[in-house]
């Protein structure tokens, strides 16, 4: 029963929403008022001109225009109506309510729009002077072209990018805002025209340069430049979908001038299976296999809880983390750092190293940072030689201690007895 009631409520709700939606598209009176002979009423690009009014005959004549072109004309009496097709299968129903005299004869009309969303109307008003003075809405079409002066360069070379725009539509593009995203793997070295800002692009004319800038290639590879986009409206203020430019492809080859620091970090231990409380000797070897020196070489040794860092040459403990720091590291230089660990808990552990360094690659203005992680093989810490001593029940330790204490106490007592 409850389920049936719920279905009924849902159905009623759906009906209500359908009706509401249908109501938007149902007949709506757009205008009910006076229009002086010689004036007109504009509905989007349609204009209903009142060409003449005859108070004595209670009639008036009308002309219908679309984008200034005459579509239809008719004469109706007061109380009569006339329908004509509108955009998208909609109809406009014009009813002549009355005609009366004045300086110029005036008609009172009712304009009803059928099967059309009122919200889609961008123009609905009386036009003084009729269709000749109406403003019609067009469709601007922006053609944005992005081009490069060189499609194949080496790393470090500069590519000049030019973006032009041309309106090939039938209406001006108004409030055009261009967007040109930053290009990965390239560095902007010079922006010749600067940001174009908001502008209008008129129909026709030659393509207009909106962006001219230089990009410096920083990495080898084939890259498609991001398209330039533009958002705009037409002269009537109607928004249009964004226009996008093409995406020119640039092939960047590795140049001979590019240099790299390539540091190899190797960590080895003298043994990977130790007894508890034993020591482990470790060695971190750093070698620069690249062709550029490195700076700020850092190795952070992450020691797990079961191991204790006991010190090492050239290794400082900062905030509890053993750290190697080298201000500079030359090409093909090698260096070894020895350190000592102590196994304090039984378990399986690994030693993790976080490595990082900086270098100049000869191209970028900024230093390149390289980071890497490395992990040693498993370190197995087994029970110490004397660990079994600590695994015995407490009385095993207490009883001998009591006996030893008693003996010591007795000896001391006798010593005091005989000490003069």
């Amino acid at each position: 029963m409850v389920r049936v009631a719920r279905l009924l409520v849902i159905s009623l709700c759906m009906v209500f929403f359908c009706l509401a939606l249908a109501g938007n598209a149902a007949a709506v009176e757009i205008y009910n008022g006076s229009i002086t002979a010689g004036d007109g009423y504009q509905l989007n690009n349609y204009v209903i001109d009142v060409t003449d009014a005859f108070p004595s005959a209670d009639s008036a004549s009308f002309y219908i225009y679309n984008n200034g072109d005459e579509l239809d004309s008719f004469l109706i009496n007061v109380g009569d109506s006339y329908e004509f097709d509108f955009e998208d299968n909609a109809q406009v129903k014009l009813t002549l309510i009355s005609v009366y005299s004045g300086t110029l004869p005036v008609t009172k009309v009712s304009i009803i729009l059928n099967n059309y969303r009122v919200s889609d109307l961008f123009e609905s008003s009386v036009i003084d002077g009729g269709h000749e003075y109406a403003t019609y809405s067009g469709t601007p079409e922006l053609k944005i072209v992005k081009s490069v002066d060189k499609s194949e360069v080496n790393v470090g070379d500069v590519v000049r990018v030019t973006v032009t725009v041309e309106n090939t539509g039938d209406d001006a593009a108004v409030d055009v805002v261009f967007s040109d995203p930053q290009q990965a793997k390239f560095v902007l070295t010079d922006n010749i025209l600067g940001e174009p800002g908001r502008m209008d692009v008129a129909v026709g004319g030659s393509p207009k340069k909106i962006y001219v800038y230089d990009l410096k290639a920083t990495e080898a590879g084939t890259f498609s430049l991001n398209p330039t986009t533009a958002s705009f409206t037409n002269s009537a203020g109607l928004d249009f979908p964004e226009s996008s430019s093409n995406s020119p492809t640039v092939i960047v080859n590795a140049g001979e001038d590019l240099v790299n620091a390539d540091l190899e970090f190797t960590t080895t231990l003298d043994k990977y299976t130790v007894n508890r409380n034993d020591e482990i000797q470790g060695t971190i070897k750093i070698k620069n296999k690249g062709n550029a020196p490195a700076t700020a070489v850092t190795v952070d040794i992450e020691v797990p809880d079961g191991l204790v860092f006991e010190g090492g040459s050239g290794i400082e403990v900062i905030s509890g983390v053993p750290k190697i720091y080298l201000e500079s590291f030359g090409v093909q230089q090698e260096k070894e750092f020895n350190f000592k660990l102590k196994a304090i808990e039984v378990g399986t552990y690994t030693l993790s190293m976080k490595n990082s360094y900086l270098f100049e690659n000869g191209i970028d203005t900024q230093l390149k940072e390289v980071t890497s992680d490395s992990v040693t093989n498993n370190i197995y810490v087994t029970k110490g030689q004397y660990d079994y001593l600590f695994e015995q029940p407490i009385y095993v330790y207490v009883m001998p201690l009591i006996i030893i204490g008693a003996i010591a106490g007795w000896i001391y007592y006798r010593h005091k007895q005989y000490k003069f």
Binding site: Q417, Y418, F420
Partner: protein, 368 residues
């Protein structure tokens, strides 16, 4: 159980007392005091008295509370007159220390006759004990080597006389001169003599408080000690191989077994012979033969036998002496020593040679 007091006076008395306490542990180890108990049969209280603190510190087996230091520099310097004054000044303290330990059945005071503290304290201590208590007091007196010097000899002579006059119930003599036959270096000889005296006294104490097959007790001991001239010595022999008990008795009574040289068959007045050992080794016939032989010479002999399974024969003989030729020898030497010291003192007093030497520069001044 007997209550026995043993007092060791002076360096010699202290050392013999310490040896007794060490022997009482029954172990040879220096650490015996840490893990063992003294095996006295009786209630034995030991007290060491000395004016030299270093002598008291050298004792290892006597409890600190049993060591009484009488402060007077570091000893009395073999001067018995000084020693007597010191004892007199500290008599109350000494007697209180002794009396705090209770009442006793018998007391032994061990001393050297020749030193300072022991030889001067002992006669006065014996006198005080006899005046205050009714238990017998016996002095165990060690006589000096004859060549130890004139001061020691005259001390020994006067000490023995003073002890005898103090009211002591008997003087048991031990003679270093006679015992030096043991040989070895000075330290081992002294230690040997101390051990020898200690073992004899321990044996005696043990015997006085033991159940015996044939009984000797403190009463018998008193009777023996009251005989003769008030002087006594102890003979002892401990068989180290299986030997007839007769031989052990003979060795105990021979000069080599005695603490003081004597021909017991001629000079002894009364005797007590205590024999200990496995009953299989204690032949009554042999014992009787030897005891009868001794009694026929000295008169009465008290005889005691202690049976200890597995032990070889050990014989202790306490002998009081009617006369002591060796003691007469000692006194004749001592008389010479006394005269020598007196003459030297008079000579120094009358012939002031040093003063004559000094008088040569009278009226003169040094010039620099």
């Amino acid at each position: 159980m007997l209550n026995i007091l043993i007092v060791g006076n002076g360096q010699c008395g202290n050392r013999i007392l310490d040896a007794i306490n060490r022997e009482a542990f029954g172990k040879k180890s220096r650490l015996a005091k840490f893990y063992s108990q003294q095996k006295y049969k009786s209630n034995v209280q030991t007290i060491a008295i000395n004016t030299a603190v270093n002598d008291l510190k050298e004792m290892k087996f006597t409890k600190a509370k049993d060591r009484i230091h009488i402060p007077h520099l570091h000893g009395v310097g073999a001067n018995r007159n000084v020693g007597k004054h010191v004892f007199e000044d500290n008599k109350t303290h000494i007697m209180r220390q002794i009396e705090e330990r209770g009442n006793f059945d018998v007391c032994f005071v061990i001393t050297s006759a020749s030193g300072g503290t022991g030889s001067s304290f002992t006669p006065m201590l014996v006198k005080e004990l006899k005046e205050r208590h009714d238990y017998p007091v016996y002095a165990v007196v060690v006589l000096p080597f004859r060549e130890e010097g004139t001061l020691y000899l005259q001390n020994a002579a006067f000490c023995l006389r003073d002890i005898r006059e103090s009211g002591a119930d008997g003087i048991i003599l031990a003679d270093n001169q006679f015992l030096k036959q043991m040989g070895g270096n000075v330290e081992s000889a002294y230690n040997g003599i101390n051990d020898m005296v200690a073992r004899r006294l321990l044996f005696l104490l043990d015997a006085l408080d033991s159940e015996m097959m044939m009984v000797t007790d403190l009463g018998d001991f008193k009777t023996v000690m009251s005989g003769g001239a008030g002087l006594a010595t102890i003979g002892f022999y401990e068989a180290d191989t299986d030997m007839p008990v007769r031989s052990a008795i003979q060795k105990a009574l021979s000069p080599s077994g005695l603490l003081f040289s004597s021909d017991v068959y001629k000079e002894a007045s009364r005797a007590m012979v205590i024999i200990r050992g496995d009953k299989e080794r204690l032949s009554i016939d042999e014992i009787s033969t030897e005891v009868e032989k001794l009694s026929s010479a000295v008169g009465h002999v008290f005889k005691g036998i202690i049976v200890r399974n597995g032990e070889l024969p050990q014989v202790l003989a306490v002998l009081t002496l009617e006369s002591a030729s060796e003691l007469e020898n000692l006194y004749s030497i001592a008389v010479d020593a006394i005269k020598y010291e007196r003459d030297k003192k008079e000579r120094v007093a009358t012939v002031k040679e040093v003063d004559r030497a000094f008088s040569q520069i009278d009226g003169m001044d040094p010039s620099y």
